[in-house]
Subunit: 428 residues, 2 copies
């Protein structure tokens, strides 16, 4: 039997720094291009991108029946979507094969100088693209700490959680067109805002620009309209996870969101990390989520470990000055699991599509230094957040760069998510 | 100068019944297939579909520079999207040419028996497909009568309109995957619902399934992220309009929608008519919308006629029994114009994409027989709606078919939208 690509004993013939996000046990998927090639699908390994298209040209995948007659063209695409449609057997076969090719004791690629030169590119030499063309994008609201904080600030501290919150994973549809890859700068949005003490709204640059630390999962295999997904089958549809920043304009949001939800406060831009870490790679990092009380209705009831122990952090770098880590939290805290989100989403017959993105909602922890948005970190502007350069923030300033990072770690193996990064540009 | 394709004096050599939705002045675009051909783009004329791909094979468009080198392949697609990306000069050139080919005094197609046989198919012999692959879908809430009715029923009759409503076109993002073409049946959704007198939610088939009469506009030419669209330029981006039914499960909606808006109450299915009537064809039917008070902020302020006088009606046919017309209203009543919706949507830098759908929200008139949803027609179940077969409805029953139709009429010319039709199937 083949060695699991997750085995902690695996080593690569590629020199990988111990603190790298991309050891041989990770092998996340993305899409890249250079001036000379691409866009191609690639896999991250140490400081390199393994070019799946180039590798397929060398015949390294030609015996993989799971790919059918799709290669090499499935690897020469601007998004993972076509690859996602092939299903988990294909995802697993490719990851397994890439793992084999990169193992220290496997000479097939290692000793083929021409292939090594063509298949491995330094990450600093490529441009990463948006990994998926989002077919649909849903944003959930699944951190009980975040929902409680928002309810406390904006509604009633005594009844911070709304009556429906513990019964279903609250979510809403977002905009796909404005989802951009990490590194893309975001203009501060203009919009209508009206403070409580103002008689009428005005239009202008948002005064309360914020980020939201989220994880998004990518759906690989879709469903037909009118069909549902049982809670036990939900994870079968999930290809992998990535970091996600749901930029938010709080002043626009509070004026517009009743009764139909957030709209222009969100759709000016969302940032996605370039690397999608497969659910397979995250298997060793499962943990049980918080106890759910009341017990969810039967269609959402699950037992076992369906959360994932992913350490997360947020850093902020001003236009000039050093980076400050402003929050550390964990994805494992989420009240509603990804499986519950997906099963709920499909429970009314809504069809899933390959390339769908489902974001978690802001991931906040229980302590003041583990909150996932500036709104919460500076508590609606009432406790400004100090930065390393001596300045402080209530909300984001033009020139600020927000960086989110994450990793899972166990038995000496550290699976990282890379980062999602974006700089705030002035309003146009 | 070429005769306008909108001229009331135009006649076709095709025999068209006077009550047809598709006189030569209309020429709406859609996508069809048969067992032998397609999917191809087509134009409706009388009881026929004019096959644009077949026509391009006969060389009828070969001198149209606006199409560049895209033909014939742009006409052999599963959606209008690629054609939309060509922009208004191409849309206009094709409509103008089709108009010329179909005129009674133009022999070029008329006298070419082979071409006539190949380019014209009876509508009863083709299957119409979803006209666009929706890139993004936004649903607005732009009828003041509808918003007032909902606010009266669910909130406070004395303050039925929320404070933001007259300041901006309220909207939210919807789900694209479940937008289906007219004729597709819709399963009654299951979901969580909790009546006020119930202690906890239960999961099961919606007991308050409803329709919403809407018009959707299709964006032809997109914008870049970070750019905006001035109110005067907004209509340049609009390709055309079609009928739209935003099926809604009111019991799911009232339980889930606070605070992030409608979600599973809507995304189990939305129905779109197969024919997109171009904005060009609707030019003669412009009218000014209602007076807006207070005057919108400058970025939304517009003068002139930016609404469209489109008569709309809703019919309901039970599983067995005759059709009953249950509502008659007009699209010209909408408080917020399409141009205002589009400009607002882009005002924060959100990018538009070819194939975007923007639905109007429920179109209700001022009288009890002009309401656009069953919720309003039966006033939350308090005044059941009588049907021609002697039965009555508070909400939709399994087996009910909802049909929405619309047309504009002036100077003896009647531009119809066809219909959007869907039958309710039992919950799975």
């Amino acid at each position: 039997m083949a060695t699991s690509p997750n085995s902690p004993t695996l080593r690569s013939w590629i020199d990988i720094r111990p603190e790298s996000d991309f050891p041989i046990q990770n092998l996340p998927f993305g899409v890249f291009e250079t001036d000379e090639r691409g866009p191609h699908l690639g896999v991250a390994i140490g400081g390199y991108v393994f070019d799946l298209y180039a590798a397929s040209q060398f015949g390294f995948f030609e015996d993989l029946e799971e790919l059918g007659d799709t290669q090499p063209k499935v690897f020469r695409r601007r998004s993972l979507n076509a690859f996602l449609r092939l299903g988990r057997p294909a995802w697993r076969a490719v990851r397994q094969r890439v793992s084999e090719l990169l193992r220290h004791d496997e000479p097939r690629l290692r000793d083929n100088e021409l292939a090594v030169r063509d298949c491995l590119l330094r990450q600093t030499d490529v441009r990463m693209l948006r990994p998926v063309k989002p077919a649909n994008y849903t944003d959930f609201y699944s951190s009980i700490e975040h929902a409680t904080n928002v309810g406390t600030m904006f509604r009633d501290p005594a009844n911070a959680l709304l009556p429906n919150w513990r019964h279903l994973p609250i979510g809403y549809h977002g905009r796909t067109s404005s989802i951009v890859v990490s590194g893309t700068s975001i203009h501060r949005p203009n919009g209508q805002r009206k403070a409580p003490d103002e008689a009428a709204p005005t239009f202008g640059p948002s005064r309360q620009l914020d980020f939201e630390l989220e994880m998004a999962f990518v759906v690989g295999t879709g469903t037909a309209l009118g069909s549902t997904v049982s809670i036990d089958a939900a994870e079968d549809h999930i290809f992998g996870l990535c970091l996600f920043n749901d930029w938010s304009a709080r002043d626009l949001q509070s004026w517009e969101y009743v009764p139909l939800g957030p709209f222009l406060a969100k759709n000016f831009g969302s940032s996605i990390a370039p690397w999608v870490v497969t659910l397979d790679a995250l298997e060793p990092f499962r943990l049980a989520g918080p106890t759910q009380e009341p017990t969810p209705l039967p269609y959402l009831a699950q037992t076992g470990a369906h959360n994932f122990d992913v350490h997360l952090e947020i850093a902020l770098t001003p236009a000039e000055g050093p980076e400050t880590t402003i929050s550390r939290t964990n994805f494992g805290l989420m009240y509603w699991s990804m499986a519950q989100q997906l099963t709920h989403h499909a429970s009314n017959g809504c069809n899933l599509e390959a390339g769908d993105l489902y974001a978690s909602g802001t991931i906040s922890g229980p302590t003041p230094d583990s909150l996932g948005s500036m709104l919460e970190l500076a508590w609606r502007g009432t406790r400004p957040l100090p930065l390393a350069d001596g300045s402080e923030r209530k909300f984001l300033l033009d020139g600020d760069t927000v960086i989110m990072r994450g990793y899972a770690e166990k038995e000496g193996v550290r699976i990282g998510f890379g980062e999602v990064r974006g700089t705030v540009l002035p309003a146009i």
